[in-house]
């Protein structure tokens, strides 16, 4: 690792102002950032640790909306009675990110700010129609995830919490990359009133929705409705782990499994 300065502010305001100078990075759970820095692939001159900020903590249900503080660890979300009751698919998703030790550190805010194309949380945010709240504004998930490792976040903008409207039904089906255990393909489906969402992670350069599947499921929310619907392989990732064709096929399989489980 290259040298850097370390700050641990106790307020969002201080954190934001610390980020104004130089090449600072926010440190949430660090489960992606620190390995990247260890391999000398990132060289921030300062890390601003968000763990000391009370306002980024907490999980609560307000009416029909689940509020999850940005610094909530995956393990906290997975084991939260509130989440398990309100959106069991979200708790299950959090409980299958990385491994137990990564889940003890990794946070929802860190995960979505990083927007790894194979991460799970972006699929949940997009698949549930979440709203990402920052110290500056509210951003709908549809607008938040812009490209591979790119989001709508601006310099110094800090995610404070994520708001999930409660679905009537939802599920996440994930096919693990055998080596890294990230999602080779993950599909999050939800149904809330007439709003049906199908969000896919792992398969493309950035999490995306599948309109054809959503239309079909809006008519009848059943795995069978997806028969004959496929995503175009042309837009998908192809690497040593899986060809675009295989990923396209898995999107169909995982979508059907998610719908069946929802």
């Amino acid at each position: 690792m290259y040298e850097f300065a370390y700050h641990r502010p106790n307020s969002i305001r201080k954190a934001s102002s610390l980020s104004a100078s130089g090449e600072a990075k926010f440190l949430a759970g660090g489960q992606t950032l620190l390995p990247t820095m260890k391999q000398r692939l990132a060289s921030p001159d300062a890390l601003i640790d968000l763990a000391g900020i009370e306002a980024l903590q907490g999980i609560e249900l307000k009416g029909r909306t689940l509020h999850i503080g940005a610094m909530s660890r995956h393990a906290d979300v997975a084991s939260s009675a509130v989440v398990r009751e309100a959106i069991p698919a979200l708790a299950a998703l959090a409980g299958d990110i990385g491994d137990p030790h990564v889940r003890a550190m990794g946070t929802i805010g860190g995960s979505i700010a990083n927007n790894d194309p194979a991460a799970d949380y972006p699929a949940a945010c997009l698949g549930l129609g979440a709203t990402i709240v920052t110290n500056k504004r509210r951003i709908s998930a549809d607008d938040f995830f812009t490209d591979m490792f790119e989001t709508a976040l601006e310099e110094g903008e800090i995610i404070t919490k994520v708001l999930f409207p409660l679905p009537r039904r939802s599920a996440y089906a994930k096919f693990d990359n055998p080596a890294s255990r990230y999602a080779l393909v993950g599909v999050f489906v939800s149904k809330r009133g007439r709003d049906v969402r199908v969000a896919v992670t792992g398969a493309g350069p950035c999490v995306f929705r599948v309109a054809a599947m959503e239309d079909a499921l809006s008519k009848r929310f059943a795995a069978k409705s997806l028969d004959g619907i496929s995503v175009a392989a042309g837009d998908l990732n192809s690497d040593i782990h899986a060809s675009a064709d295989y990923r396209a096929h898995l999107v169909g399989v995982m979508a059907r499994r998610a719908v069946a489980a929802a």
Binding site: P178, A179, S180, I240
Partner: protein, 786 residues
């Protein structure tokens, strides 16, 4: 049998330190004044190093020194040698250019060390390595062994067509004749995937020069510290043997990859004198992926000929073996004498002819990895036999039994003389344990759940305890493959065993103590096993090739014979009886037919006090040594059966059941032996389903971390049903055959035979990842629909 003697399931003595965090691995060793090394490595697979500018590196705060290949050359530090001479079929010696410890001229794989930076801290050394300006002239790379011989790219001037040797074994004419008379011929083309050994402890070295004694100490992650010292002295000119102490403390797994001498340990030792400070280097995992010797990597075409009843008549094999950028220490013997000599498998095959071309490519050097040649042979034999039985419509178990060798000793057409075995016994027991008869029912039940279920056999044989030394010498080995032992009995009757074997997970501190406890009738807590330090143990050949039981323990046993003989003489004086009347049993010497006895500790004390025997007749003390050179290889063999279930929608394979029935001869500690089998199976399943090195065409490693190279984890594997049959090994007094590699040798074909059984065709490659299996299952379904 006592509760700690031979055959007992004794909990391991060494575990106390490992479960409390008190183990001492090389990176745990720290010495005063220590500095740190960071290696600058070639980013290119094939490039001439035109210059190394170290000015900026030396300006980094904390950087002490920079060395390059030219500095090694100045001090006449030689390149890493190949330790086994192979001659091509035309009689010419192999082309085996040495591997300079820091590049001299060309870098030949990504990771080849170009320079070393020594720093006050690891961070300083790494920053220095990054600051080096290395100017490369980049050349085209060749990474595919199948293309190496025809490539316009030449790695070494001294190896035309990138070829190390073109070797053959067996009778070509007899084999051709056998094929002429055949009623059925089965053909198979396969590749045996390249693997990264990945012991959990990365390699590490700590070199330390002591000016006062003009001698070096090297702590290193080695499976054979004496051989490391010999190579570094005799071939590399680092220091004379008596001025170099090599210590391999606790070593966190080896699997072959820690047999060889590597550039880093040589450089850290040599440079410690240059900088006058100790130098430590520890690989991170990324570095391990591009520096530890890889394993396997064969491309093979084979044909097997049968008569109308399925009796095998002959086998023809052509293999291209990838050696990587340089010939690593034992690399040249792996695809020859450790591979082709096992092509007869468990079968009576009258004629075999094998050709092996070994080639250089711009990849990490390949050398022995758990099994070393024998997994490649077993994979070939057990796949082609399985396919032949399927093609001929003969039940695969029946086909195998029909062809098993049944009379021993059995001379194969490929050198080996199998001494003992009962292959049908292992197969029958395995069939029983897995309920082979009930398989059809299980398959139908799986089909109802939408799963494809298959069953796969693997009847493997291996040759362990490579020996005798004169014979391996005649085959090209640069060393003898005996083992040494010394038994030091202390005056109070406890015992230190100095062994040339090295334990890096095998549990020698327990099993060796069990042998001593059994023989001397003392508690195992009265025995200490000393290994891994060239200053303590006089010499030894180390641990690999499943040799430490059969060879290392036999050496101890022979030394114990001598101790017992001398102790009897002393006991005779103590008991005032004739030596021929002394019996030794349960730790006491007695005069036969009387109740007069003395215990082993009493005799030990008297041996040193030396009051009660004439010291002109018997020397004082009780210490004996032995060297054991085996008269033959040992031949562990057995049968593994795998049942697999495939999800045809995704291609995911789940191992539904696994049975292993092995014949290791006599077993000292069944618990430890079972553990060796479990671990071996896991590595073999890894090869079959998950692990595989991938290079792009420019020679960049695509699978350079655990993010991309898939290691088996707990949820990839089932619990295994492990059992044994026993035919004692006739070539050593303990009847031991060895067990360390069996699982890794046996398991890959069992997995692939199960998958191909499930999907209904043979076209599948390793690793059979979900994508590979999904594609194959689709082909299978398409064929079934035709």
């Amino acid at each position: 049998m006592s509760n700690t003697g031979i055959g007992a399931r004794v909990a391991r003595l060494e575990d106390q330190r490992f479960i409390t965090g008190a183990g001492k691995y090389t990176d745990d060793v720290n010495v005063a004044g220590q500095t740190y090394a960071a290696f600058a490595r070639s980013e290119h697979a094939h490039a001439t190093v035109k210059s190394v500018d170290s000015k900026a590196a030396l300006a980094v705060p904390g950087v002490i020194a920079v060395f390059t290949g030219a500095d090694l050359e100045k001090d006449a530090i030689g390149p890493l040698p190949a330790g086994w001479m192979i001659h091509s079929k035309d009689g010419s010696p192999m082309n085996a250019p040495g591997h300079p410890c820091l590049v001299q001229g060309k870098a030949r794989y990504v990771g080849d060390p170009v320079a070393v930076v020594i720093g006050e801290s690891l961070a300083a050394a790494r920053a220095g390595a990054e600051a080096l300006a290395i100017d490369y002239d980049v050349h085209e790379a060749v990474t595919d062994p199948a293309k190496a011989r025809s490539s316009a790219t030449q790695l070494h001037d001294s190896a035309p067509k990138n070829t190390c040797y073109e070797w053959e074994l067996g009778d070509k004419a007899a084999t051709a004749a056998a094929f002429k008379s055949a009623k059925h011929v089965t053909k198979l083309s396969l590749s045996n995937n390249r693997l990264v050994p990945n012991p959990m402890e990365p390699r590490s070295a700590l070199g330390n020069y002591d000016a006062g004694t003009d001698s070096f100490t090297l702590y290193t992650t080695s499976q054979n510290p004496h051989v490391a010292r010999l190579v570094m002295s005799a071939f590399l000119n680092v220091a004379p043997e008596h001025k170099l102490r090599v210590i391999a403390p606790d070593v966190g797994g080896g699997f072959g990859s820690k047999i060889y001498v590597y550039p880093e340990e040589v450089v850290c030792t040599w440079a410690s004198k240059k900088v006058g400070r100790p130098i430590k280097w520890t690989a991170d995992r990324t570095e391990a992926f591009i520096t530890d010797a890889h394993g396997r990597d064969h491309v093979t075409n084979a044909e097997i000929a049968m008569d109308e009843r399925g009796k095998i008549l002959g086998l023809k094999v052509h293999t291209t073996a990838n050696l990587g950028g340089y010939p690593s220490l034992f690399a040249t013997c792996v695809p020859t004498y450790l591979y082709a000599t096992l092509l007869s498998g468990q079968y009576d095959i009258p004629a075999i002819y094998a050709e092996v071309d070994a080639v250089y490519t711009n990849t990490v050097p390949v050398d022995a990895y758990r099994g070393a040649g024998r997994p490649e042979a077993t994979f070939l034999v057990e796949r082609i036999v399985e396919i032949a039985s399927r093609e001929m419509g003969i039940d695969p178990a029946t086909f195998r039994k029909r062809n098993f060798i049944k009379k021993f000793p059995h001379q194969t057409p490929v050198i080996m003389n199998y001494d003992a075995g009962d292959y049908a016994a292992s197969l029958n027991k395995a069939c029983e344990l897995i309920d082979y008869k009930g398989f059809g029912k299980r398959r139908r039940e799986a089909a109802r759940r939408g799963k494809l279920r298959g069953i796969g056999f693997s009847c493997y044989i291996e040759a362990c305890g490579i020996a005798p030394s004169a014979a391996v010498g005649s085959l090209g080995a640069g060393v003898g493959l005996w083992e040494s032992a010394e038994v030091r009995v202390n005056p109070t009757g406890n015992v230190e065993i100095l062994t040339g074997s090295h334990s890096h997970g095998q549990g020698h501190e327990t099993t060796f103590a069990q042998l001593v406890s059994d023989r001397l009738g003392i508690g195992i807590d009265q025995v200490t096993i000393v290994h891994g330090d060239t200053d303590k143990v006089q010499f030894g050949m180390g641990t690999y090739g499943s040799r430490s039981g059969a060879v290392g323990m036999t050496a101890i046993s022979k030394a114990l014979d001598k101790v017992e003989a001398k102790a009897k003489k002393i006991a005779a004086h103590l008991l005032e009886a004739s030596e021929s009347d002394i019996e030794f049993k349960d730790g006491a010497f007695s005069v036969s037919g009387t109740d007069k006895k003395v215990t082993f500790p009493e005799v030990s004390l008297n041996a040193y006090v030396a009051h009660k025997f004439p010291s002109d007749e018997i020397e004082p003390g009780l210490k004996e040594g032995a060297f054991h050179d085996p008269s033959n290889f040992t031949f562990p063999a057995g049968c593994h059966i795998c049942e697999i279930e495939i999800d045809p929608e995704t291609g995911v394979c789940e191992i539904a059941d696994w049975v292993a029935v092995d014949d290791f001869g006599n077993v000292i500690n069944p618990m430890i032996v079972e553990g060796q089998v479990h671990g071996g199976i896991a590595q073999g399943v890894g090869q079959a389903l998950m692990e595989g090195v991938s290079y792009d065409s420019s020679g960049q490693l695509m699978t350079g971390s655990f993010m991309d190279y898939c290691m088996p984890r707990a949820d990839n594997l089932p619990s295994f049903k492990v059992d044994t049959t026993v035919t004692p090994c006739p070539s050593n007094p303990l009847g031991i055959k060895g067990c360390g590699e069996a699982g890794a040798i046996a398991s890959p074909p069992a997995v692939i035979n199960a998958i191909t059984d499930a999907i209904g065709h043979e076209n599948i490659t390793m690793p059979a990842t979900p994508q590979v299996v999904w594609q194959a299952a689709r082909q299978g379904a398409a064929r079934a629909a035709e």
